[in-house]
Amino acid sequence: MKPIIEIRDLRKKFGKTVAVDGLNLTVPEGAVTAFLGPNGAGKTTTIKCLLNIHAPDTGAVTVLGLDSRKLGPDAFRQIAYVSENQELPLWMTVQQFMDYCRPMYPTWDVAFAAKLLRQFDLPTDARLKALSRGMRMKAALLGSLAYRPKLVVLDEPFSGLDPLVRDEFIRGMLELTENEGWTVFVSSHDIAEVERMADRVAILHRGKLQLDEAAEDLLARFRSVEIVVSGGTESTAQLPEAWLNIEMAGRVLRFTDSRFNEKALNAAMTKHFPTATTYKATPMTLREIFVALARTYRLNGLAEVAE
C-alpha cells in the first residue's frame, strides 16, 4: 500500500524536553493506524508535526505526498483533524458551525452531514459553549468528517463520548474506511475501542517508536502464559528475552510471551522449567499487550536510568 504519512527521523524538543526522538513511521493508505503510548510519549507532538502545527526540529514528515511544513489549503481540504484539546468557535450554534465549515470544503456532503447530525443527536440551535465536552467532540467530528476527507487524524477522539456514540462512531469509521478508502491515524488511550478498528498498531515510548506492525500479527504473537511448576522455586534468570513481565506467585509463573510459537514455547519450558506440569497460553487483547509493553518499557527505562 502507498504510504499516506511518512515520518523520517523526526525530532522535536521543547526547551530541554525531548518530545519526539528520532521517530520513523509509515502509515499506509486506506488503513486505520492506532498510535499508542503512555502519557508524555510524544503522540500529540507527533500529530502536531504532521499537521504543520509544530515545525519539526529535524527530520522529514510527508503527508499526502507533501512536506508537512508546506501543507496548505489544498491539503487541508483532504485532511480531518479532531483533537480533544482543539478549539472550536464556541459562540456559534451547531447549525452556524456547520454553515461556517461548509464553504471551506468543496466536497462537503450535505446528506452525510445530516446523517452524522442525526447519529450524534446534536441540537442544531444550541451554542457550542453550552454543550458538554462529549457533545462538543461530536460537533468537532461532524465538522471534520462531513467533507469526506482522505486522511482522518484523531487525537483522543473518544474523550467524553458515551459508549453508544463510541460504538456508532467506530462502526461509522470502519464503514467509511472500507467503503471510501479513508486513512485513519488515531491516537487514544481507549485501546479497547481502538482495537476494533485498528489495522496497524504503532507504540511510542519517550519519543521513540517501540513497535509498528499489523494489529493481526501483533495479536497473534502475544500470549499470556501461566505455568504451574511442581518442584520448588525455579530460577527466572536466563529466560528468553521475548518473555516479558515475569512474575512468580507460589508455584505459578506468569509472563507475556511476545513471540508466541507453540513449539518454541514447549522447548523453552522443557529447558527452563523441567518440572512444569501444565501451562496455559491465552490470547491477549490489544489493551493487555499495551499494558505489558508499557510496563516493560518503563522497567527498561528505569534500568537505563540506573545504568
Binding site: 502536531k48 487541508f76 483533524y81 464553504p103
Partner: protein, 520 residues
C-alpha cells in the same frame, strides 16, 4: 476571495455587539462635538454644572480605547500565533485571513472614525481645505493605532497572554522614559530635539511604539513565521509612525508677509515677542462654542521680575487682514483683555461679570486673576479667536495678523493676612469675611477656578450672599488672595509673598497697576 468574504461575515456576526457599541459611541461623540447633546447646565449661583457633564470628557477616551481594542479582539479571535486554533488545520489561505482582518479593521474601525470627523467638520460648515486636512489627520492617527494594535495582538495566542504583554509593554515604556529622563538629567540634554518640531505627546507615542515594537520582535523570534506573516502589519506600523512623527502638525501656521519687518516692529517694544503661529483648535468645553476656531496666540519673553511684580499682556483690535482686502474679525466675546489679563479658560464667570466688577473698581485698578500670580509667568497668551469662514476663498490667500499688544506691569501689595482655613475670619471695608469651606488639593488652574466658584458660594457675608441673586454685582476681590494657594505648603508660600509686599495698598484690592507699556 469567497472564503475571505465568508470569514468577514463570520467576524461581523461574532463582533456584532461590539460593532453596535462602536457605532453608537461614534454617533454620540459626533452629537457631542456638534453640541447637540452634552451641553452643561448653568445656574446663576453655581455656574456650570460640570459634574453632570463628566461623561462628555470620558467619551473621547472610550472611543480611543475602542479604536485599539476592537482590532485587537478581532485579530485575537483567529490569532495566527494560536497553535491549536480552529483555523490552524482548516483550508483557509493565510493571505485571505490577513485580508479579512485588515478589511475589518480598516472598513469598520478606521474608516467610520475618519468619516465621523469628516461629517463633523462638514456639518460645522468648514471650508473644504479644513475638511480635507482634518479628515486626513484623523486618518493619520486612526490607521497606525488600529493596525498597530491588531498587529500586536497577532503575536499572542490568547487574551491572557495579550493582556500580560500589554502590561509588560507599559512597564517597559515607563522604564524607558524613566531612563531617558535620567539620561537627560545626568547629562543636561534638555536642548536636544528629535525630529522637526515634534510635539511632546508624539514623542511619548513614539517611545511607546518603540517599546512595543521591540517587545514584539523579541517575542516573534521564538515563534515560527509570526514575523513573516505579520511583517506587513508591522511595516505599516513603522511607516505610519514615521509619517506621524514628521507630519507638520502646525498645519495652520500663519506667516507674515514681511517677517523681518514684523520682527523689527515686535522687538521695538522693548520686549522680545517672536512671531507666532496660528493654530486650529477645537474647543472642548461645553460652555464654549463647539465650532473649530483659530486661536491666535503670542509668545513673549519670560522675564524674571522682582518679587511682587507682574507683567500682563493683552491684545487689542485683533484682526486677520486679507491681502486682497477685507478682514476677519475675531470673536471677542470671551476675551476681555482690558480688564482681565489671565487665561479665562474654563472660568465660570462671564464677560458681563467682569464688566460689572470693573465698573465698581477705580479707574487705575485692574482686577487680576490671582492664579496667574505664579513663580513662572506664562510665556504666551491668546490674542483672539476666529471662527473659520465657510467661504474657502477667505483662507485661500495670505492673511496678515494685525493687533495692538499691551503690556502692563503691576506691583502687588499686601492688603491683609487672610488665613485659609475653614472658619477663619477676616475683615475689610466691606465687612467681615468667613471661610466656611475650601479645598486646596487641586493643583491645576482649571480646578482652582472651580474652587474659586465654590469659595464664593460658601463665603458668608450678608452683602455678598444678597448679591447672589444679582450676579452682576458680585464682588469676589478678596477671594483672589486665597485661590492662588493650592496646598497647605503653598498657602505658607503665598502668605509669605503677601507679607513681603508693600503695606500701603488701597484697601480692598489684590493689586494695583504700576507702569503701562503700550505697544503697537
Amino acid at each position: 476571495m469567497n472564503l475571505a468574504w465568508h470569514h468577514f461575515r463570520k467576524d461581523l456576526r461574532r463582533f456584532q455587539v461590539f460593532l453596535a457599541l462602536w457605532f453608537g459611541l461614534l454617533l454620540l461623540d459626533l452629537a457631542v462635538n456638534l453640541g447637540w447633546v452634552g451641553q452643561m447646565e448653568f445656574s446663576p449661583i453655581y455656574g456650570f454644572d460640570r459634574a453632570s457633564n463628566v461623561w462628555t470628557t470620558i467619551l473621547p477616551g472610550v472611543v480611543w480605547a475602542l479604536v485599539g481594542l476592537l482590532p485587537s479582539l478581532v485579530v485575537l479571535a483567529d490569532s495566527p500565533a494560536r497553535r491549536g486554533g480552529f483555523l490552524a488545520t482548516r483550508p483557509l489561505p493565510k493571505g485571505d485571513l490577513f485580508l479579512v482582518k485588515m478589511f475589518f479593521v480598516i472598513a469598520l474601525v478606521v474608516a467610520p472614525w475618519t468619516v465621523q470627523e469628516l461629517v463633523h467638520l462638514k456639518l460645522q460648515g468648514m471650508p473644504l481645505w479644513v475638511i480635507e486636512r482634518g479628515t486626513f489627520e484623523r486618518l493619520l492617527w486612526a490607521l497606525p493605532v488600529a493596525v498597530g494594535c491588531g498587529a500586536f495582538a497577532a503575536l499572542w495566542p490568547g487574551h491572557a497572554r495579550w493582556v500580560r504583554a500589554i502590561g509588560l509593554c507599559f512597564a517597559g515604556y515607563i522604564l524607558l522614559m524613566a531612563g531617558v529622563s535620567l539620561w537627560v538629567y545626568l547629562f543636561h540634554l534638555h536642548g536636544i530635539s528629535i525630529g522637526p518640531e515634534r510635539l511632546p505627546g508624539i514623542l511619548c507615542v513614539q517611545a511607546f511604539a518603540l517599546t512595543l515594537m521591540g517587545f514584539s520582535i523579541w517575542h516573534a523570534r521564538a515563534h515560527r513565521s509570526v514575523l513573516a506573516r505579520w511583517g506587513g502589519l508591522i511595516f505599516v506600523l513603522v511607516f505610519s509612525q514615521w509619517l506621524v512623527s514628521f507630519w507638520p502638525w502646525e498645519t495652520f501656521k500663519l506667516r507674515p508677509e514681511n517677517p523681518a519687518l514684523a520682527r523689527k516692529a515686535m522687538a521695538s517694544s522693548g520686549f522680545q515677542i517672536p512671531l507666532r503661529n496660528l493654530s486650529l483648535k477645537r474647543e472642548t468645553g461645553a460652555e464654549e462654542s463647539k465650532r473649530p476656531q483659530f486661536l491666535v496666540s503670542v509668545d513673549v519673553q519670560t522675564t524674571t521680575l522682582p518679587a511682587g511684580q507682574l507683567v500682563e499682556w493683552s491684545g487689542k483690535d485683533v484682526r486677520l487682514v486679507r491681502t486682497a482686502g477685507g478682514e476677519l474679525r475675531g470673536d471677542r466675546k470671551d476675551f476681555s483683555p482690558d480688564i482681565f489679563g489671565g487665561i479665562l479658560g474654563n472660568n465660570s464667570y462671564t464677560l458681563a461679570d467682569y464688566t460689572a466688577w470693573s465698573g465698581e473698581f477705580p479707574d487705575d485698578v485692574m482686577f487680576h486673576d490671582s492664579s496667574y500670580y505664579a513663580a513662572n509667568p506664562p510665556d504666551n497668551f491668546s490674542l483672539d479667536r476666529f471662527y473659520l469662514p465657510a467661504n474657502r476663498a477667505e483662507f485661500s490667500e495670505p492673511l496678515t495678523v494685525q493687533a495692538s499688544l499691551e503690556a502692563r506691569v503691576f506691583q502687588w501689595h499686601k492688603i491683609a493676612d487672610l488665613p485659609l482655613r475653614p472658619g477663619a475670619t477676616s475683615a475689610d471695608e466691606f465687612g467681615s469675611w468667613k471661610f466656611v469651606a475650601t479645598k486646596l488639593d487641586h493643583p491645576t488652574i482649571k480646578d482652582l477656578y472651580v474652587e474659586r466658584r465654590q469659595i464664593i458660594a460658601n463665603c458668608c457675608r450678608p452683602k455678598h450672599c444678597a448679591s447672589r441673586r444679582k450676579p452682576k454685582t458680585r464682588r469676589p476681590m478678596r477671594i483672589c488672595a486665597g485661590i492662588s494657594c493650592t496646598s497647605p505648603t503653598a498657602t505658607t508660600a503665598c502668605c509669605r509673598l503677601w507679607n513681603n509686599a508693600l503695606a500701603s495698598t488701597p484697601p480692598g484690592w489684590c493689586g494695583r497697576p504700576g507702569r503701562v507699556l503700550g505697544l503697537g
